[in-house]
Symmetry: C2
Subunit: 207 residues, 2 copies
């Protein structure tokens, strides 16, 4: 099996590969790592890990386990995390949460780049300092289209969330990372990743 692209493989495998990528990026490149080692760190069984890796056609596991650097490279390739391709995002809602997210440089070293920020308050867009341009919300459609932005980080108040999401999907946004407390209704050709504190806590408590 060779050169399978990420969106072709099973959803569960895909998510594990995303996380495995993050895990490996903190391990010295030269180190070898076995599927049993990864099992200890993640809780996934070694066989599911071996299968995931074989699905992307890495074939980099020699007799003593995988070479961490090579494996990471294969995973990143499969995910399309190559230096040359930059994935444009915007952040909508520049309250405390929005500000905290973009000012902490979380996306450094990833293929994602925040290219625009939006807030309903003109005052806010003028006062805040960011490494990307800030616009009042009415300009949302124009900027997203002209910049070709495909992903949005949603940090507006709950009461605004669905309305803004509708506008985002209407102007070409393919996916939203939803930090609000409500569930976003969305078209079937788009995606929402729920990153809400309530969902996360409820999932923890129920597990």
């Amino acid at each position: 099996m060779k050169n399978v692209t990420i969106s072709e493989l099973p959803e569960r495998s895909r998510r594990r590969i995303v996380q495995l990528t993050q895990l490996l990026s903190r391990i010295p490149e030269a180190q070898t790592i076995t599927s049993a080692d990864i099992e200890k760190m993640t809780g996934w069984t070694s066989s599911v890990i071996r299968r995931d890796i074989s699905l992307i056609g890495c074939q980099c596991g020699a007799t003593k386990g995988y070479n961490a650097g090579k494996l990471l490279k294969s995973l990143k390739d499969a995910l399309g995390h190559t230096e040359t391709v930059e994935k444009k995002c915007c952040i909508v809602g520049l309250g405390k949460l929005g500000e905290a997210l973009f000012s902490s440089n979380l996306l450094e070293g990833t293929p994602f780049r925040i290219s625009a920020g939006f807030d309903a308050s003109v005052n806010r867009t003028e006062v805040l300092k960011a490494s990307f341009p800030l616009y009042p919300t009415p300009e949302l459609e124009t900027v997203i289209k002209s910049e070709g932005i495909k992903y949005a980080i949603l940090t507006v108040p709950d009461s605004e969330a669905q309305k803004i999401a509708d506008r985002l999907f209407a102007c070409g946004i393919r996916g939203i990372v939803n930090y609000t407390g409500i569930m976003i209704v969305h078209p079937s050709d788009s995606a929402v990743e729920n990153v809400s504190l309530i969902t996360a806590l409820s999932d923890l408590a129920a597990s």
Copy 2:
């Protein structure tokens, strides 16, 4: 099927039920809602929704669909979201992100309550204002044990994350909501919900 508790049912169903609860809480109690309506809003098939609901033994669907209020109540019961039971959480790391999370009152109306905050900087714990007590990180073990806190929201810098997580699990924390950019290695009798921006964006982009 009656009175099945949430941790007994399939993981996928559990997660959908958590989300469904959030969705329903924004719908008038008196309204009736069919599994087909929910399909339109969530993208899950009506049959998977009907089965999820039947798993918790609601039996509240009459001939014209579910009564939103009754359904919500059944779901909340199954999740253990009853008024009387309060689930204690703490937040570790009171930087911008931590502050943004607790000051936005996201947990109002949920069974979760933040009972303590911790930060490495004594200055920070003294200056910030919160509706719960703030402590310097060395007091973490003492406070968590004496308060009986079971869940933690982790918003420390990446470089500290694993160290702090180890301490949290060692003193009785059962689950962590991880806002840091790294993957937390954790004991198998505990859980981590990853809520990192990078993971969410990567999952979106790969879908």
